[in-house]
Amino acid sequence: MKIERELMRGVGPVAVMRLLETGEKYGYELVQALDRQSGGVLAMGQSTLYPLLYNLEAKGHVASRIETADSGRDRKYYRLTAAGKKRLEHDRAQWRALSGAMGKLGFAGG
């Protein structure tokens, strides 16, 4: 199932920050993790991921570093900052409230 673009715009940053909560990751790794862990529901267009990461970086929610991989190629790793963790907690609480409210309205999984 493909999520509507407008809905994904709100979900995407939270999902990416949630994935980074467990440790730093690089771009393609995030694409794969989103696809795998959300059962394909949150598989965002790959072109969307990088602007999303840059925006989070501009807001100070994530930070990045370049590391040269075994292949000799430079790879950019992203990690959650303290501000990002705070933001994620805030978003998580909101999502719980939203999910609960939707559940009470009869949407399954609430």
């Binding site: 690089y26 393609y28 790959q46 990088y50 501009a58 950019k76």
Partner: protein
């Protein structure tokens, strides 16, 4: 895209300054080389290159993104996905480039972002200015109403026999008052630099005390009785009938008036504002000659001609002339001349007038004006003042067909001409550029200045509001507009306050210099009406003296037999004051200070008694006008050559 460029110059071009300072031509900002050397399949390399190229970012930012995308696709290939699938799944390249560009911009420093927004704002403003500039350049006024014709319409509707101008014109020529045919006896000592017929008639003030001058004057009067008779006849007609405009009465070569108006009909400087009223000067001359003739008549004991001359002068004041403030001010001047002559006779030779003549004179003088300034300066008699502004606006603003429009370039230049260099004193935007000693307009500044001018509708609405309020004020005695009078009127703003409003509202600046001086008009009218009241009382006093052998103790003693009612002091609203000084009657107002100073006039800076020094109305003309000590004497019976005796 697969070719790499490793030339030294090329590397230098893509080397960051920091590396160059360290002596290294790293070329690490060369994103093209980076993609080319990535080892990715051609389809992927092309896709990455297209995205990076269209991002419109700095070389460093492009390099960062290129590095990340190379890693992304390499990771995909390593995960077993084929190149075409990777490129397809990546998404729309243009959208990606746009989203990345925006995200990268957000990462840039605040200073850069502020600068960018400032540049954008400047660009928007420049675009708006460009549009307004073009709009300003193409704006043209449209003259749709011929206000001069409209003003003339009421004059032309008057029957020819009721129009005085043909007779005045005949008299001007026969009396030698025309600029082209001046009588050297009248104007011989006129300073030629004054030009035309604007000079003062030197022999007018001659008296028997100056035998030579008196002989010249009386000889001239004897020789021109026919011409003066024509003036009296003209004065008896209700309308002057002077036709305004380029082809009107002001174009009269025989009188020496060769250019009524040189401005074309659609010129901003044409129309009502350009009309000439050259007849006002010879009219003043004719009034002066009638006054001289009246004095001569008394000297000859011709008490039949004296009233005729006075009546003619008063008639010239009554006569409806061009509906302009200047014409009405001149008309009030005619009344003043007549009043002065009557006052002089009452003071020095009242015995020459019979009771019947005095009573007729009192009735005639009472008919001059009413109780307020509006009786002399009615909207009907000032119609040209509004039309002048309406006409000027239609010649300086565009017309959208619904009563609105904007200032035009030609209009702005015309307005600036009226304001002259003073325009700088209350304008935020300079439109005067002194260049090589010539006041030159700069087009760019003019277009910017046009933004500081209210729209046609705003301007006219403000003007009409001001004129409505001002004209309403003329219907109220000045004393009721003074700040310390009726508290209910305190909310009414003085004319000065209203004019000040125009100066405060910068967008209305074109109006601030074009409003006629109505505050002076009102004061002029009040002074004349006060003088009129004083004369009527003075005539009653003379009649009382004749009947009872002495002046009354109070003015009330004469009512209603000789005086219907005691006139009210035009300053404090109480009955006018009266007292006998050296046995002679003096009628007066308490004056500006509100105190009875026993008919003592204020003294001017030269130490002379100031006739109208105390005839001021606090706050009516200027909120901070200083109070003048002393009284306003309406009639002073003291004087020389008094011969109080019974009338024949």
């Amino acid at each position: 895209m697969t070719d790499t460029n490793t030339g030294r110059l090329h590397r230098l071009r893509y080397t960051p300054l920091r590396d160059l300072l360290r002596g290294r031509a790293s070329g690490r900002l060369d994103w093209r080389n980076r993609i080319a050397e990535s080892g990715l399949p051609p389809a992927v390399r092309s896709a990455v290159a297209r995205i990076v190229r269209s991002m419109r970012l700095s070389r460093g930012e492009k390099c960062d993104v290129a590095t990340e995308l190379i890693a992304h696709f390499a990771d995909g290939l390593n995960a077993g996905v084929d190149a075409d699938t990777l490129v397809r799944d990546f998404g729309d390249e243009r959208t990606t480039a746009r989203l990345i560009r925006r995200a990268k911009w957000r990462q840039r420093p605040l200073v850069w972002q502020a600068w960018t927004y400032a540049l954008r704002a400047a660009a928007v403003l420049a675009a708006i200015y460009a549009v307004l500039f073009v709009r300003f350049l193409i704006g043209r006024p449209a003259v749709s109403v011929d206000y001069v014709a409209r003003l003339n319409a009421s004059t032309e509707s008057v029957a020819a026999d009721d129009r005085a101008w043909p007779l005045y014109r005949q008299a001007i020529l026969s009396l030698g008052l025309a600029a082209s045919r001046r009588d050297p006896t009248l104007f011989e000592r006129v300073n030629e630099t004054e030009g035309g017929d604007s000079g003062y008639i030197q022999i007018i003030d001659a008296t028997p005390a100056d035998p030579a001058g008196w002989r010249t004057l009386t000889a001239w009067l004897d020789a021109h009785q026919d011409g003066l008779a024509v003036v009296r006849k003209a004065a008896a007609r209700p309308e002057v009938g002077f036709i305004l405009g380029p082809s009107g009465s002001a174009l009269d070569p025989e009188l020496g008036w060769t250019a009524a108006s040189t401005a074309p009909a659609d010129d901003p400087g044409g129309g009502v504002i350009a009309v000439l009223v050259p007849h006002l000067t010879p009219k003043r001359h004719m009034v002066n000659l009638l006054t001289a003739d009246a004095r001569y008549a008394l000297e000859q004991n011709r008490v039949d001609r004296w009233p005729d001359d006075i009546e003619a002068i008063l008639n010239m004041g009554d006569q409806r002339d061009t509906p302009m403030a200047i014409s009405q001010i001149v008309a009030v001047g005619h009344y003043e001349v007549a009043f002065q002559e009557v006052a002089a006779v009452l003071r020095t030779k009242p015995h020459l007038l019979s009771d019947r003549q005095l009573i007729a004179l009192a009735h005639r003088i009472s008919r001059v004006g009413g109780d307020t300034a509006a009786s002399l300066f009615s909207p009907n008699r000032l119609a040209a003042e509004r039309m002048m502004i309406y006409d000027l606006v239609q010649r300086t603003f565009t017309d959208d067909g619904h009563g609105d429009g904007r200032i035009t370039r030609a209009g702005l230049q015309k307005l600036a001409q009226f304001f002259g260099p003073a325009i700088k004193s209350y304008r935020d935007v300079d439109i005067y550029l002194p260049l090589f000693g010539i006041e030159t307009y700069d087009l760019m500044e003019e277009s910017a200045t046009s933004l500081t001018v209210a729209s046609r509708r705003e301007l006219l609405d403000a003007y009409d509001r001001l004129m409505d309020e001002t004209e309403a004020d003329l219907t109220v005695p000045r004393r009721e507009l003074a700040p310390d009078s009726d508290p209910e009127r305190l909310s009414r703003r003085s004319f000065a306050d209203r004019r000040h409003d125009l100066w405060v509202d910068k967008k209305l600046w074109p109006l601030s210099g074009l409003i006629p001086g109505y505050e002076r008009i009102a004061v002029t009218a009040e002074r004349l009406l006060g003088t009129r009241d004083g004369l009527v009382v003075a005539i009653a006093l003379e009649l009382h003296r004749r009947r009872h052998g002495q002046y009354p103790a109070t003015l009330e003693a004469m009512t209603p037999t000789l005086l219907p009612r005691v006139p009210l002091d035009r300053i404090d609203g109480r009955p006018v004051r009266y007292r006998l000084i050296d046995g002679r009657p003096v009628v007066y107002s308490v004056g500006d200070d509100g105190d009875d100073d026993a008919a003592r006039r204020p003294v001017d800076r030269n130490g002379n008694a100031d006739l109208y020094g105390a005839a001021q109305w606090p706050g009516a003309t200027h909120p901070k006008q200083p109070v003048t000590e002393g009284d306003w004497v309406l009639f002073d019976g003291r004087g020389t050559n008094a011969e109080p005796s019974a009338a024949p």
